[in-house]
């Protein structure tokens, strides 16, 4: 209220004219700088609404503990052995699962109208979306580190060491960034955050559970093995596992990166096509 009463716009009309006149048009910001600026916005939002870190902290901890202790004895004989198998996979699962919040966050931005402002600016067109995904990358990194810490606390001893674990996380973040473009596209064609979460959850379930995250595919029926072997998440998990275990990395690394590039090419293009004229 005090700000309201103190300010008299009638008397500030000349100062508005001053503010307009004093604005010299700076040179146009480049694509990298505007993308980073939007990433900065995402971090500011975390600062003001720290609750949005709830999903990236609580969810991975819950997943890790639940799967390790629920299945550990049955699948691997002991939780100690199972954690060695499941840790890289549960990392992948935690991060990929929370990527779907990207879609509902974008939809909220669109509905609030602030995206109209961004779309009306003379900037590199994808930068609001790229920046948003970069900001989400920070959230994914937080989730990865927390998951890794929980796994370490309950007995995970990766042979790849710190370097191997960080390399695995880096690969995971690249894939998560690429997967994010599916959700940005969904948020431009579906009208409510609920619908986006629904479709995203429906898409992620077979990708995450129909993979080699939890159990060795050798125990699965043939049709499921066929799905698991074409599922890019399996390649990603195999590559992350190899990096973290300090084992030789096979062709899966290339396949995971190729899928990432493909996702950006296809869903990035679809997203930018809808971005020009969204619903």
């Amino acid at each position: 209220m005090s700000a309201e009463t103190k300010a008299s716009v009638a008397s500030s009309a000349p100062t508005i004219a001053d503010a307009l006149a004093s604005a010299s048009r700076p040179p146009r910001a480049n694509a990298l700088s505007t993308s980073i600026t939007f990433g900065w916005r995402a971090l500011l939002k975390i600062k003001h609404v720290p609750e949005q870190l709830f999903d990236v902290t609580v969810f991975p901890v819950m997943m890790t503990l639940l799967f390790t202790y629920l299945f550990g004895g049955a699948i691997a004989g002991s939780t100690g052995e199972y954690i060695a198998y499941i840790a890289p996979g549960v990392l992948v699962q935690s991060v990929l699962f929370i990527t779907m919040y990207t879609g509902s966050n974008l939809r909220t931005d669109i509905d609030r109208g602030v995206f109209d402002r961004f779309r009306s600016l003379p900037i590199w067109r994808p930068s609001p979306l790229v920046g948003m995904l970069l900001g989400d990358g920070v959230r994914f990194l937080v989730a990865s580190l927390i998951t890794a810490a929980v796994c370490l606390a309950i007995g995970w001893r990766p042979a790849g060491g710190v370097i191997g674990v960080l390399a695995g996380i880096a690969l995971l973040l690249v894939f998560a960034f690429s997967l994010g473009w599916i959700w940005t596209f969904l948020s431009l064609i579906l009208r409510t955050p609920q619908a986006i979460m629904g479709v995203a959850g429906f898409t992620l379930m077979p990708l995450l559970f129909g993979s080699n995250i939890f159990v060795d595919p050798a125990t699965m029926p043939g049709w499921l093995q066929a799905w698991v072997s074409v599922n890019p998440v399996s390649d990603l998990v195999t590559a992350v596992r190899a990096l973290m275990d300090g084992a030789p990395v096979g062709g899966e690394l290339g396949i995971a990166l190729a899928w990432s590039a493909g996702l950006v090419a296809v869903f990035g293009s679809l997203t930018m096509w809808r971005y020009r004229d969204p619903r």
Binding site: K6, T15, I16, A17, L20, T37, R41, H48, S120, P122
Partner: protein
Amino acid sequence: MSDLVIETAGLTKIYGRQRAVDSIDLSVPRGGVHGFLGPNGAGKTTAIRMLSTLILPDEGSARVLGYDVVREADHVRSHVSLTGQFASVDEDLTGHENLRLLARLHGYRGTAAGERADQLLAAFGLDDAAGKQVKKFSGGMRRRIDIAASLVVTPELLFLDEPTTGLDPRARNEVWDIVRALVAHGTTVLLTTQYLDEADHLADRISVIDRGRIIAEGTSSELKASVGSGTLHVRVMHRADRARARDVLVRELGVPVEEAHDPQLLVAAIEDRGRVTRALTALEEERLELAQFALGQPTLDEVFLALTGHAADDADAEEAA
């Protein structure tokens, strides 16, 4: 350089089966305020969104500051600003953070972005609220930061979509002062409004929009003159007398007499002022008691009624997405 800031030919946007904007031909000269006047759902917002490159036209073409809104959209964006009807800043961020964000996106680097934000906050009387999240702002402050956000780099043309909807009269006057300051500085403003008095006070020229079409265009006085030389307002003292009074007026004035929403009010567009005195005498002779008898310029409400056959506040159409 053309001295028209906006030029459209057959501009159309279709949503489903509805022609939200239906073949609009518009020429807006540089300078001053051009008003888009119409009820909710008339297509004002859709038209503005096409002109500010937010959505693509389905038919027709539009040039803004000489640039095609489809093929040269990026040039258009460099020279226009938009203040949308709804929050056009990030509610979670503070006032200062919002303006700094936009300053950085416009190419201000390092501390220059923060300085530009400070400058604008001061100019708009928002320095005390700089560190407050925008969602905690009052309605009037919200509108001011929305407009300030459009002026980080001075635009040649500013789109203001219903800038005073939902504001109290004092905040509305503040927004009007801001618009006048902008115009004095040389920015052309295209303003949409469903408030007839707002168009009357601010706009140099007005396009009246109804159901996606422009149904009239001109200055406020021209629009009023097109309805007739004046309007007669008669309020009877007792509701029951209205029908009888209407018959008397129709007989004496020789023009149609409308029954307004107000159950005591009768309104007639007058062509011949000389007959008004006779009508008053006739009412007296019929012993019809009057509460009010006034002859004046028609209001824009009456203009709208005359042009469209329905009142401006009849929200019979849904605003298209």
